[in-house]
Symmetry: C2
Subunit: 451 residues, 2 copies
């Protein structure tokens, strides 16, 4: 299925661009104007001559240029007619943001739209979806204003999301946290492009390193199983299932018009496809960022280095109760370390104590990374103590660039801490607030790579 | 045990104030000067005449005024001698931030200090602890600079924390998130003032509504059981245990010199005392803030209102798999609602749809709060959609002020969202990033009040 135009169309028509700045079509158009999209843009509105200084066409049929993609934001009952016009115009891809179909019980109109799309050989994302966003091509059909929903920078996470609200909220949240994206698609009712088609596409996207998936109901189970198995061999898929309980499933029925199915069935399907199941939206991105930026783990031996004893203890508790193991450094490494360090209170967690300096961290980090018994470094840096100078960030980043072992940081704090964490994350070192979050993410990361 | 001076001493001597701005004693003194402490302050340093413009005394014995509290930041081996001088000076309370005792295996010095304290009838917080902070009296012995560790405003959470690093990191984090505190104590090795004494004190503190506790090892099990049972009848205690696993417990031994004991034993003790056990540091404050600011719950029936279908589904999943219940509004309420609302897709979760306006929220919120079948309102507001105007914050706050049911908000997003959330939280409405976090906190909140 060729769905590339949903992400890299060079010429786009938006049907239903009102003069009213509050209307969906207007916001979409406005976002294109304010954004960095470099392709051609056409506006369709039968009742206007121009909108925001752009010529308005009465119909897509009046546009002379070929159109790669149409974005439709008009009342539901008018959509089939417009689709027929798009067919005549030889448009093959449509994003339908309009809602009011199966999800509100309007099955008749739903069937009509489905048939119209089929007859005109048009692939559609939606209806009742937010559409797509591509951080590289700058194609952005999200009908939410930029001051409310920040757009992410170019990166390597892609996000396939049935629900538009989940998609936009998470996109905004993740952008604020500094996560970078390749592609995003909110596919709503999945009329003829579904989660499997999008997974397959993201699987082949060279910019995508990890795929996040929020799904309420898989449309075609067999297809999903085949595609997900294939894609997860190449790239990790981190998924969350909405409507795992019977009650949640009922709510899903009226949300995107699909029956959600039981928790047990989905968890089994996910396991079978080697899909990583997240237990919450927050955890989904905790896991994804590790896949985006970390080096591959060679094993599951974790070395903890900390300047806070309590954090070392909590990390140990979390590691020991997971499928990970506490690393054991060799006698040579420790002998070498003892020459350079004043006191080593405990070896793993290695507590550098409250008066730890950046220099002491440097010695410990290098020793741990060189040791064959260490696969992953869990580095706790509490920036509240003044002897940890801010150049520790440079040291961690430089070490991370050179070494082939994943380094994962934990820091808790306010503004000062957050600034340093953002610095680390934008330079390829994933950071977490609490030991438990980090360990949970490391565990999923290692599990995927050991399969 | 009279330990009030640790929090509200009116005259304080700091022993070991170096001229070197990097040294612990100097930072403590500096923080007092920069802070809002209104009591008398004396500096002791036998090798200086003045420090930062303040007269330096050779010994506490040279100070004419009575001293309520001494803060000691000198090398470990000198501490007993200073304690003897404090005894002569009739000082009865000492915060000993110095480390180098039992936690590094120096048992002999440990015993000597313990005996010296006993002989001089001095109660000590520490050694190897951060000391205390009181948001009301402004007494602040934390030896961490203000630019790295923000100090919280006056509020109703108190935090008893064995580990100094956990304490300071969390205090900084929680302050940044807008949580407000009454008192904080990091008690380190717990030589003669322990977690039970501090719990008892916080239990009697009129400014404390909820107590957070991080403990690695309880010193006196019987005493703890008796005190915790008594205190938790009056006020909720939310606790996290460091060193629940054997490995974590070993790490704890060298951290604060105490054997931590098994997970099962502690969980049983916590249950017996009606202590709420948090599974991570993050969750501890997720729970605490609900106790700090929410109205009492009358039952466990939760009504979900949302403008994002997916969030409604995830909330339902979380509620149904907890000990909470989905509320069922009465037929009358629904009849009334249907008159005012366009379409009600689902009743609980009540999906106000992506084009929900503030007005629509207002109608739904009022209906839910009036209904006898609703005990708690889980209000999901995704601010990405432009029809939710920012005055929804005023409406939620006004409603919250008037109603007697807990309102809990969930919003996910970037800067715009965060600003509105901070606004809500500082006006008494707890906010969470994700439905799962909110539901977990509501569950613990309800469980405590149902016992």
């Amino acid at each position: 299925m060729d769905i590339d135009n949903f992400f890299s169309a060079k010429s786009i028509a938006i049907v239903g661009v009102s003069k009213d700045p509050k209307k969906v079509g207007h916001v979409i158009f406005r976002n294109f104007i304010d954004g960095e999209f470099r392709g051609k843009l056409f506006v369709v509105n039968p009742n206007a001559d121009e909108i925001l200084g752009h010529k308005a066409y009465k119909s897509v049929l009046d546009i002379k240029d070929p159109i790669d993609l149409v974005i439709i934001a008009i009342p539901a009952e008018l959509v089939p007619k417009i689709i027929d016009e798009c067919g005549k115009k030889k448009i093959h891809h449509a994003i339908i943001v309009t809602s009011g179909f199966k999800e509100v019980g309007n099955d008749k109109l739903d069937r009509k739209l489905e048939q119209t799309l089929k007859r005109n050989k048009i692939l559609a994302i939606g209806p009742n979806g937010l559409g797509t966003f591509d951080a590289y091509s700058k194609l952005d059909s999200l009908f939410l204003p930029r001051y409310r929903l920040q757009r992410p920078k170019e990166g390597n996470i892609s996000f396939v999301c049935q629900s538009g609200a989940v998609g936009s909220a998470i996109l905004d949240y993740a952008t604020d946290k500094g996560y970078k994206f390749s592609k995003f698609a909110s596919y709503g009712n999945a009329m003829n492009v579904d989660e499997s088609d999008l997974l397959e596409y993201m699987g082949n996207d060279p910019n995508t390193k990890v795929i996040c998936l929020y799904v309420e109901a898989v449309k075609d189970g067999k297809k999903f199983l085949a595609v997900a198995k294939r894609v997860s061999m190449k790239k990790p898929i981190v998924a969350i299932k909405g409507g795992k309980t019977e009650e949640g499933s009922k709510a899903a029925l009226s949300h995107t018009g699909s029956l959600a199915g039981s928790a047990a069935v989905y968890s089994a399907v996910f396991r079978q496809c080697n899909i990583i199941e997240a237990s919450s939206l927050g955890e989904m991105f905790d896991i994804a960022k590790m896949f985006e930026i970390c080096a591959l783990p060679m094993g599951r031996q974790v070395q903890v280095i900390t300047n806070g004893g309590g954090y070392g203890i909590l990390s140990t508790d979390a590691i020991v109760t997971s499928s990970l193991k506490m690393a054991q450094m060799s006698a040579e490494t420790l002998k070498e370390l003892r020459k350079q360090m004043p006191v080593i209170a405990t070896v793993n967690p290695m507590d550098l104590l409250g008066d730890a300096t950046t220099e002491r961290y440097k010695i410990a980090i290098n020793a741990a990374l060189k040791d064959y018994g260490v696969d992953i470094l869990l580095l706790i840096v509490l920036y509240q103590t003044p002897l940890v100078s801010t150049d520790i960030v440079d040291i961690i980043v430089e070490t991370n660039d050179l070494c082939r072992k994943p380094i994962v940081c934990v820091s808790t704090g306010g503004e000062f801490t957050e600034t340093l964490k953002k610095n680390l994350e934008s330079n390829g070192v994933p950071c977490y607030n609490f030991p438990e979050d980090a360990v949970r993410a490391i565990e999923k990361f290692v599990q995927y790579h050991r399969k």
